[in-house]
């Protein structure tokens, strides 16, 4: 799980963070949901991505890692994690997306040399609805989208310091 450690200390090392973030997401889906994510051929429309989960990072790196998806995708994620029908997921879908975000954040920081012990994670927060704006103080943001069962899942890391 920690085979591809990258560097914390130099900004040059941060160039590797985006593929590390994608790998972290991929591993969480493979191990916990039993499926692979596909790369998005082009930037997906963010319309309909009405569930957002966020985990805060504090320490040597401060920022927010977020995972955004549609309600339908969230229900499908809960379905795969719990072995239930997607129609039965109900509020458990929010918990599922929150826990996925939490695991991606943890998996990501454990792959970055020096970040594992030097950075704390918050418990996840889940927002439903798409009519909101996030105003970040960060100036170094990573943003990628992968496809889960053909539907986009957008992962962002907004780095504040």
């Amino acid at each position: 799980m920690n085979a591809s450690r990258t560097s914390l200390s130099s900004s040059a090392g941060r160039e590797c963070w985006l593929p590390t973030l994608q790998l972290s997401m991929q591993e969480v889906f493979e191990l916990m949901l039993g499926c692979s994510l596909e790369p998005a051929a082009e930037p997906p429309s963010e319309e309909g991505l009405d569930i957002t989960s966020m985990v805060g990072l504090a320490g040597q790196v401060c920022g927010i890692l977020s995972v955004r998806c549609s309600t339908k995708s969230a229900a499908q994620m809960a379905s795969r994690m719990l072995g239930i029908d997607a129609e039965q997921a109900g509020p458990q879908m929010w918990d599922a997306v929150g826990e996925i975000c939490n695991m991606v954040a943890g998996n990501f920081k454990n792959k970055i040399s020096g970040l594992g012990d030097g950075c704390m994670l918050s418990v996840p927060t889940v927002i439903t609805g798409g009519d909101y704006n996030v105003h970040s103080m960060g100036n170094n943001n990573l943003h990628t989208a992968l496809l889960f069962e053909g539907q986009p899942v957008v992962i962002s890391l907004e780095i504040h310091s």
């Binding site: 920690n2 969480v28 998996n107």
Partner: protein, 129 residues
Amino acid sequence: MENIRALIVDDSSVMRKIVERSLRQAGLSIAQVLEAGNGAEALAAVENNKVDLILCDINMPVMDGLEFVRQLPGVANGKGVPVVMITTEGSEGHVVQALSAGARGYIRKPFTPDQVKEHVLPVLAENHQ
């Protein structure tokens, strides 16, 4: 060991269900599964129930998993109960911290049922001797 009474401590109900399923997939004979959403609830659960095994997250509101492990031997029924941490905090420092606090095993999220088996079975066997 048969008819294990397990306590699963995690603030995510989804994760508690996944951990329970992993225990059953590991082939353990589970008689009862208790759940708690944080360390304080888990201490109360241990005081009121005898359990053979505890699987515990670290990052939780109210009382985190490390504090729970430290306080566990001081509550009724808590002494000697093995605790295996299951957490996203997977750095060496966190592992050392958890083992120093009294945890007997450590599983990093994301995990497979095989990893649960690999970490839990030796702990149960050691405790049963």
